[in-house]
Amino acid sequence: MMRVSLGIMTSRRLQIGAIATLLVLLGMIGSAIPLQATSKNRINVTIEGAGVSLDATLYLPVKTPAPAVLLAHGFGGSKDSVVTEAKTLQSRGFVVLAWTARGFGNSTGTISMNSPDGEVADVSKLIDYLSTRSEVIRDSLHDPRVGITGGSYGGALSLLAAGYDARIDAVAADITWNDLQGSLFPQSAIQVKEPGPFKRVWTGTFFSIGALGISKKSPQTSSLLCGRFSSEWCSAYQASVAASAPTTDISKLMRASSPSSIASRIQAPTLLMQGESDSLFPLSESELTATEIRQSHPADPLAMVWHGGGHDGGQNESKRLNNLVGDWFDIYLKGEKKIFPVFQVTQSAAAISSQDSAPEPRIFTSSILPMDATFTPLAIESGKGILLAPAGAAPAAVSALPGFGSALSLAGGFGAFLPGQSAFFDSLPLTSPIVIVGSSHVRVKVTSTAKDATLFFSLVVRTASGRTVQPSGLVAPVRITHIPVNGVAFDVTLPSIVANAAAGDRIAVGVSSTDLGYSMPNDGRVYTVEILSPGVEVPTLPLRSLPGGSSIYLWPLIAVVVIALSVFWVLLRRPPRHDPYIEQVVGSEKVPFVAVRNLTKTYADGYQAVKDLSFSVERGQIVGLLGPNGAGKTTTLRMMMGLIFPSTGDIEIDGVPIYPGSPALAELGSFVEGPGFLPHLSGRDNLDLYWRATGRSGDAEIEDALDISGLGSAINKKVRSYSQGMRQRLAIAQAMLGKPDLLVLDEPTNGLDPTQIKAMRDVLRDYAASGRTVLVSSHLLAEVEQTCSHVVVMHRGELIAYGTIEEILNRTGKRAQHLEDIFMELVGNDTEIGL
């Protein structure tokens, strides 16, 4: 569809035009002969219309036979201005026939504004042509399966053709008129038969496009005036403009070219699209057409789309609209099942863009058409507005103008409401937000110092912050004649709009005595305007945002399901927990305090850190765990702390198995591979918070622990400032918090001076003397010899010796002097890390 029908001649188009002219000449030999296949799927043809030759292009889809779509262009355009639309429909599997209407481009003939025996008759010829094409599905011999679509001029033609030719199976018309006279001489006063004021700027723009086409070819002055218009239309138009009122001739012509004359005969499923930014053919045109079609064929499928575009510009939704047209034809030409809302409306500023927080449009749907809207009366402040209409009708208000839309009135400098020439009648502030979709009604009383009145009504939203918004710059013109001295009361249909207002905003009826876009009386006069009860009645529809509201529950539902699955997954994938060790030796009464059984740890890379390690520790023992680097000491201790999962085997403390979080760990105090503290807290706070985190009740004996650490006043300084030795001592103190039954210390004397080492030795002896157990890993053999009662020697992950110091020293039969001798003998010089 052509969005704005102001066609611009590009050099490329002129080139194509030249080639096409040649083709037209060749085409005279015989109609409907493919002249040049520009490609396999795109064929240029010349088709004989009703007395004219039409320049056309046939687009073929990949799969044929297929239903056909006739694609009409906008005023001033040609078949080349609808290439995008044609390709969209072609790619969706339709045979598309785009043609240049008579009087435009390379088609012959003159413009007769979609007259029944002109352009409309041409369409029937095009359908005849389609019925001869083997690529098109046929319903019967001369009846192809065919839809028709177009925008503006092409939209009206689509509706008219559907009324005149019953072979058309589906219609999609965009931004077009219902009644040409009603659009060009709009009269918004209800039940007033006289035409309204002449929409002179838009009409002039519209007709001048048709007059441009021929100027080069026939430079006679007379044809400059009429361009390619038919002489009938040209002279009627000239006369009407001169009179600022429709002549009988042009009324008749316009009637014949209006879908309203034939809408009652449209049986094909009809999609009516109309733009919200359209002061030429406003939204109400689609409402009128829809009403007429429905009255005669209430069961026929009918849908309506109000989009953000239109002849004034607005939002470009052409991509979406092309897809909607495709959907419509999918349903009614191909018989596909698709959901198509009865009514779709774009609210141009309904949401805020996440890209730049500027207003952006949002699409809403409704199951009822705007004509069936519910009307809500809003009380309007009483009072009388006095408006001056200046002599010569200047200055005049600017609401919307061709090519600019309502931009000029928003830009400042111009105004939609001029002081002295306008009045507002406000509602009370709204208590709840409202979305107005369609035409509001108001009853007014008007007096005039002349016998007649020309007024421009609009519905505006006045925000609490003082802004006045006239939706799309649309006005409803009214022209009343023979007004008695005491005035006349009548109903006004306000412009059909889509607007939303917040709580606190006011809805107002704006009245202006001038509007630059229209013909106005030339003499000066003064009007008074009053709003009569019940005030303004505004239409509202139940709207749902697109995609439909039902899916709003879908995502939370998915969330609930995923959360449930996640919980299930967590439960399913709980870490392996060894069953409590079942006493293997039945009847054995003595359970060792610490039992390490067949412990093996193989890492993911295959490295075996611990191999089949078994030993036991009794209460009151100080056990030294010896071994060179890489012997698996630390891995063993980590497994004892529940940090590393054994590959096989298990560890028990007091008969309770060890696993992460095992309650047996509460009996274990540990210091492994260096201290760990929160550097931003003091030593005291660290111990205090650690104790509170252990979940153990009872006395932590923190003061005792602090004594052991020997930190003195430094205990209140941040750990960050501590030396390695201070941290070491604090960590051992932390391990002793609450006096656990088993104390596991990894290299506790690292970084301690000889005095501290001596003190540490005493601390450990005292600790064991109270019946508690200490497990010390160390590589300081002399230290172990002095402190420990028992020794476990590991090498390459395996246990190589286990017993009391005495047993180990006497291992070889003769007593060794030092542990070191035994150790070297056991381990040898093989101290490299095992692989």
């Binding site: 500023a349 309904a350 949401a351 805020i352 863009s353 730049d356 927080s357 500027a358 207003p359 949002r362 939203v461 925000t463 609490a464 912050s465 918004v469 939303n500 207002a501 917040a502 709580a503 606190g504 905003d505 945002s545 509201g549 899916s551 709003i552 939370p556 998915i558 969330a559 995923v562 959360i563 996640s566 967590v570 994938r573 709980r574 890492y603 980590r638 529940g642 940090l643 999962f645 992460p660 979080g661 760990l665 509460a666 274990l668 540990s670 591979e673 260096g674 201290p675 760990g676 503290f677 929160l678 931003h680 807290l681 918070l689 650690y690 985190a693 252990t694 979940g695 153990r696 009740s697």
Partner: protein, 280 residues
């Protein structure tokens, strides 16, 4: 001596451990300083009339920032959604376990013993509490600072409507709630990374990185509707709370998506951590 797994690492203890960290102080100070900085820049900036002091002065949120406290707060949300809040949440939830690993405190907590699932539960509870604190602090300070600088007026939206102060605060509360929910995904990713790596910065960086990549992809319109599956696609859905009739679709989707991602990440973290050999 009685050990109760349920009283290990109480919320209060973990909160004290975290709240006394410098990064907590820095993050909260930043949240307070940001509106102060923006407000004074606008208020005392040298450029011309009040309308062009800030942004386009027109129809977007930033242009309306100086309208009132509520507008200023909404603008601060607009500034903070993309990066500031993401980073803060990533720090609070991403650094929490990894930093314990790097301090070597993790093994002592686990050997205390704090059961692993409980440790994660307490950690994420405190991480989310601190995150929520920052998310709530931002509008409160912004509103107060904005109110002092520009007055406590109603909330004017880019769509031209103005809500009174009461409804304005209500809408800001909705935005705050949505932001809190929509940032859960970031908390989830950061937390999952936190149990995966021992490097605190790595965990935070990974979460922020995911967001940045998602934002970049979301800006590529060629991806079309695929973008709705990006975690940050609905990050700005709170803007819908500025419309007269709130369309909840995007916010519900965004929040649901965030919850889904959070649940999956949290479950992943629990499963992973539960079976992990702690070698830090």
């Amino acid at each position: 001596m009685v050990y109760k797994a349920k009283s290990t690492l109480p919320f209060r203890v973990e909160l004290i451990r975290q709240i006394r960290r410098k990064r907590t102080l820095v993050a909260y100070s930043f949240i307070i300083a940001l509106p102060l900085l923006v407000a004074s820049a606008v208020k005392f900036g040298s450029s011309g009339s009040s309308s062009d002091r800030f942004g386009s002065g027109g129809l977007d949120l930033i242009g309306l920032a100086t309208h009132s406290a509520a507008n200023f707060t909404a603008t601060m949300f607009y500034f903070a959604t993309g990066f500031v809040l993401i980073t803060v949440v990533a720090i609070f939830c991403g650094d929490t376990v990894a930093s314990e690993a790097s301090w070597s405190t993790l093994r002592y907590l686990l050997a205390a013993p704090v059961p692993r699932t409980r440790l994660l539960r307490q950690k994420i509870a405190v991480g989310l509490t601190l995150s929520l604190g920052a998310i709530v602090l931002l509008p409160i300070t912004s509103y107060l600072i904005g109110g002092i600088a520009f007055g406590f007026g109603g909330l004017q939206t880019p769509l031209g409507t103005t809500f009174n102060a009461t409804i304005g605060i209500e809408r800001l509360a909705i935005m705050t709630a949505f932001l809190a929910l929509s940032l859960l995904f970031c908390a989830g990713i950061a937390f999952l990374m936190s149990v995966t790596t021992d490097a605190p910065l790595g965990a935070v960086g990974a979460a922020v990185g995911v967001v940045i990549v998602s934002n970049i992809l979301n800006a590529i319109s060629a991806l079309g509707s695929l973008r709705q599956w990006l975690p940050t696609h609905y990050a700005y859905a709170w803007l819908d709370a500025l419309t007269t009739n709130i369309d909840w679709t995007s916010m519900v989707r965004g929040a649901s998506y965030s919850l889904i991602a959070f649940a999956v990440c949290l479950a992943g973290a629990v499963v992973k951590f539960g079976r992990k050999d702690i070698t830090s």
